[in-house]
Every structure is written in structure tokens, then in C-alpha cells.
Subunit: 358 residues, 2 copies
């Protein structure tokens, strides 16, 4: 995928930089150690704090946060429906109160496009409704129709406006439809009329069993054009990612590497480590001898366990760098395996290893 | 000062690595960015967690924490008297309960020497009683006598035992005596019988006015031998440090750069910044154009303010690196100024600047 801030080689994992920082990670380490190609920003959070005035005066999120590689922003839909208070959904958009100070706001498809013009991400997402994973068919169908009407309004506004900082942005539509095959097919067909640079798949990994998610991916990717990138939003575990790559997904984002890292869970090529476990107490071997981050060889499991139990910030920093590096290694290795034709066998082997608790 | 893990050029500031990590700072950044020559560990914390068994099996704190430069450990006295619960002081030592799990422990001069042999720091501190800054003369005198008897026991035990990891350690006595000139003189004379590699000054910056602290430093440094390093424990602000250097102090430690950094206070060569202030909201200039850390030029004040207000971990990391780098720059610059004979005038000028709120 080519953006104004550089080329992104897929499959790729995008670290989540909620309010303009990937939690606990210096931009230098994100670029050089993790080797992140692209990161995510959350429109909902950035809109509330630091706010549009500051981002515009800074010259956009890249300049504000000192990140020179590509950025993708979500549309705020997911956060409005999961974080905000007193939300009221209408045809026009979604009224809500800030989870920070209770102030009243309205997100509309047009408004969210303007906000994302101001944030200035390379890839901007359409504003959609995110129905719960358990939504019954009728609700899912009505919600999808609304999301499609909003998508038309998003493209209308996006095409009427220009980038603010002298570089192009791409608007990415989102395929919704819950766990209903006919709705997913309908949505995957509908979104193609906009001839976008990529297509996202939303509303998965929200509580449905993994096999159902994989089934939906097969259905949607059977309809989406092969020559455009497909982005599975908010997914997931290393196994989820490999299974989704096997089904044609190119891009991923998830808070799991940083959030679970902060809680002491490490993802490695040999399996999952809960570093709080007694068994690592006197294990003076490197955190991950196969790891690609500098922290993997410098620090031992016993030391990281000690810092985690003592509640030291450095533990969260080490675990976040390790996990992000592992996720980037995983998607990079998947790319190499796809190119040399060994992806299938490697994936089967890795899925077994990655499911193990060490 | 020369140690088994390398030479330390004084005056020097020693970052505090409480439980074996300087809060929020990778060892790599501490060595290469902050350019710390020596760091501190807290005996009380390390004794409770990870505990002696783990540290001994790891081969000492250097190997456990992957820090290859010199380490100094305090004796735990200060923490026992400020953090621990149910403490009971006797001639033998101090009984206390852990602030973590309430377990019962006893610190004696001999025991604390054995603990510090196991931790394996290059410089280990004598076990002393730390009376409150407001202690009346009679209490201060009795406390000092006890500290002196304990000092004899510390050296007795230290000289009876050998280093555990094949390199030499130095035991540093502590001059006490509260704010009473005659007690300070007596203590500064008493400690010299042990012909130590350096001498510490404890029990200052515990509530007394700064001029009283400076007076005590002049008195004590008038008595201590000129050719040995003097370490002022737990001090302080940049101004305190310059005033103490002017009065002959060589070594400092303090949690201020990291703790105040985590709360949004930045020390710079132009004055003190409270990054939470509204005035930095849209200030897109570098955090500190004169700063020596990589964060100083990469990030802007507006961005750091945003992260601080949003409670992002990265804010604490940036501020900690900046402040530590500033403290190391300050003591390094003091050294250069002393060597080229311009310290006096420079110090006067800096004291004015460093007291300013920007």
C-alpha cells in the first residue's frame, strides 16, 4: 500500500497510538526497534484531546507527534459506541457526551471527515455504526443500511474537501454485517462502488467464536477485489492474525500487544508467557532468545518478572516493546513465507506453537 | 572515584534505581542518552523484592538488572525509618514490618553488610539511624552515638567478609548530627578513623531551611579530608546541587528528576517548566533547545503537555529522560567549569536562572 508518508508492505500489523502515542513506546523505538511501518490514531480521543485547534495549528498529527511514517485514523465510531456516555443515534449521526468531562458532541459522517482532514492521517476510515456482536438479524440489517447511507455521505464530504497539509489522504470504507453471510456479501459488494485504495472489515472479534470470524472473512474476501488491501479492524491474537492472513487479510491493528504486555503477558514464537508466574522467578535466560527487540536479549525473565510484580513502569515498557516487535516480526515473516511459497506449512506449525502457554 | 565497574568523574549525579530499575528508563538510555556514570539501588526495597536468594543466584544486582557501570546501594536505614511499619529501634538494630506484606524483619549493622555483599554494589553504605530533621539536641546526640557504634560494627562485619562476585566493594560511612554544628564536627572527625574511599553526609534536606543545610555542609566539609569524595545523600534541586558543589560536595542522588518529571515538572537550563500549564498548549517549540537528551529535540512542549494531561505513560518517560539528562549535564558542566576555573561566576548565574519558573 502506498501512502504520502511512504510505502507499507503487507501483511502488516499497525500499533495503536490512541491519543497520539503508542503507550509506553518512544517514536524512535517504534521506528527503529519495533520497525513499525504505520501506526493508528483514534479520532474520538484526538478530537477530545488535544482537540482540533491544536492539531490544526501543529500542522496535523504527524507533525504534532513527531511520527514521519504513515498513520491511519479510525472514525471514532467504535469509541463513541463503547466509551462515550449518553449517546443517541439518529439518521444524522451520533450525539454523545465526552467520557472525560461530560461535554456534549455530535459526530456525523461529514463532521468526522472534516475531523480526519484536520488530523491529517494518510488513511482515514469511514464513520460507521458498530452494532454489538450479538445483534439480532433485523438490527444488524437496519444498522448496515444506515452504515451504507453514512458511507455515501462520507465519500461525498471527503471528495468535496481537500487535504490540509499538502499531501493526499485515502478514505477507506468499512464492510459491516455482523455474523450474517448475506449482509456481509451485500456490504462487500456495496463498498466497491467507491473504488477505494483499500477496504476494511469491521464488527468482528467482538464476542463471536473465532470460527465464525474466519467464516465471515472467507465470505467477505471472496467478494472484495484481490488487488486492494484488506484491513481487519481490531484483531487480534497472533493466531487470529495468521488465520486471517491465510484468508487474505493484509492489515491489522489491536491494543493486545501493549495492553496485555502491561499486564505481564508476552507473546513469543514458542508460545505465551505469563511473566508473573512463579516459574520465571529465577529464570535468568533472556526474555526471548528469538526476539527481534533489543529488550529480548538485554533483560532476563527473572528481572522482568521482578519489575512486573513490583509494579515498575519499566516492566510495561519492556513488555510493550517485546510484544510489538513480535507482532511486527510475525506479519513480516508471513510476508516472506508468502513470497517464497512456504506460508501454508509454516502457518500450521506456528498456530500450534502460538497457542501454547509456556 | 574508581570502582570495580569503572571510574566515576565527579561532581556527579546518581539516578535512583529503587528496586533495580530507574523508573521509566531503559538501561540503554540511561547509559547512552542520560550518560549516567553510576546509579543507586535501595537495599530495603531489593531485600524485600526480589529478595536475597534471587539476587545471589543471579550473581548480584549488576547481572540481575543488566547494568554494567558502577552501583551504589544505600543501607536501608532511611526506608526503614520512613516506609516500614511497626519499627522498633534497639541497640542491636531495627525491627520492622514490610510495607508490602507486613512480614517481620530485623536490620542490624552486620545483617545490612551481608545484604549489601549479596546485592554486590560497588559502593555500600553504613547502616545508620536517620533521626527526623526536627530532632531536639538530646535525641540527635543519642542517635549520633548509636550511629557511630553501628558504624564500628558495620566496618567490623564488612572487613570480616569477602565480596561474593570477584570484585571489590567499598564501605562508605555517613556523617550525621542533624543541624547541630558540634555534632556534625564530631561525626565528621569520628568517621575518618575508617580511612574510607569516600564519606557521605546524611540527614540533610529533611525539612531544615536550605541555608542551614549549606551551613552544615561548610562545617562538615571543613573537617572531611579533601582528597576523598563526599556524597550528599538524597539532595536535591538543581540549585541545592550547585550550592553544595560550591561547598565541596562531589556526589548526589535524588528521586526528584524522575518523580517530579512524572508529575510534569521539567528542569531546564533556563528555569523550571510546569508542562501542565495552559501556556504550553500550542507551543510547538522543542521541549528544551539546549537539552542533551534525544527527547529534547524530537518532542514539542505542546505534545508533552498533551500526553501529560492525557495521563499517557510516554509523558513520564520523556520527562524522566529529559530531567535525568539535565541533572547529568549540570554536574558534568560543573566539573568542566571547576577545571577551567569559571565555576564561581557560572554558578551564580545558573542559580538565578534555575530558580525561575518559566
Amino acid at each position: 500500500m502506498t501512502t504520502a508518508h511512504g510505502r507499507v508492505e503487507t501483511p502488516v500489523f499497525m500499533p495503536v497510538g490512541t491519543v497520539g502515542s503508542v503507550k509506553g513506546v518512544f517514536h524512535r523505538d517504534l521506528a527503529e526497534d519495533v520497525q513499525a511501518q504505520i501506526i493508528l490514531g483514534n479520532t474520538y480521543h484526538l478530537y477530545l484531546r488535544p482537540g482540533m485547534e491544536i492539531l490544526e495549528r501543529a500542522g496535523g498529527l504527524h507533525r504534532f507527534s513527531s511520527w514521519e511514517r504513515p498513520i491511519l485514523t479510525d472514525s471514532g465510531g467504535f469509541q463513541v459506541f463503547s466509551l462515550a456516555e449518553n449517546r443517541k443515534l439518529t439518521e444524522q449521526g451520533c450525539h454523545f457526551r465526552s467520557h472525560i468531562d461530560g461535554s456534549k458532541h455530535l459526530f456525523t459522517p461529514e463532521g468526522v471527515m472534516d475531523i480526519q482532514r484536520t488530523i491529517g492521517a494518510d488513511l482515514v476510515m469511514a464513520f460507521d455504526e458498530c452494532p454489538p456482536g450479538t445483534a439480532p438479524y433485523d438490527y444488524a440489517k437496519k444498522s448496515l443500511d444506515l452504515t451504507h447511507r453514512w458511507l455515501e455521505r462520507c465519500f461525498g464530504q471527503f471528495r468535496k474537501t481537500s487535504p490540509k497539509y499538502g499531501y493526499e489522504q485515502s478514505l477507506i470504507p468499512i464492510v459491516q454485517g455482523c455474523v450474517y453471510p448475506d449482509l456481509r456479501v451485500k456490504s462487500a459488494e456495496f463498498v466497491q462502488q467507491f473504488d477505494a485504495d483499500g477496504y476494511a472489515i469491521g464488527g468482528l472479534a467482538v464476542g463471536e467464536p473465532a470460527p465464525v470470524m474466519y467464516e465471515m472473512l472467507e465470505i467477505v474476501n471472496g467478494v472484495l477485489p484481490r488487488e486492494r488491501s484488506r484491513y481487519l479492524m481490531g484483531v487480534g491474537t497472533p493466531v487470529n492474525i495468521l488465520e486471517a492472513i491465510a484468508r487474505g487479510v493484509d492489515m491489522f491493528d489491536c491494543v493486545m500487544p501493549t495492553r496485555n504486555g502491561r499486564n505481564g503477558m508476552l507473546f513469543t514464537s514458542e508460545g505465551i508467557i505469563n511473566i508473573r508466574n512463579e516459574k520465571w522467578r529465577a529464570d535468568f535466560s533472556p526474555i526471548d532468545p528469538n526476539g527481534t527487540s533489543f529488550v529480548d536479549k538485554v533483560y532476563t525473565k527473572a528481572y522482568l518478572r521482578h519489575l512486573t510484580i513490583a509494579g515498575e513502569m519499566l516492566a510495561a515498557q519492556i513488555a510493550s516493546l517485546h510484544n510489538l516487535s513480535f507482532y511486527l516480526w510475525l506479519t513480516g515473516e508471513a510476508r516472506r513465507r508468502i513470497l517464497d511459497g512456504t506460508f501454508g506449512a509454516w502457518k500450521e506449525e506456528m498456530v500450534v506453537k502460538l497457542s501454547k502457554r509456556l
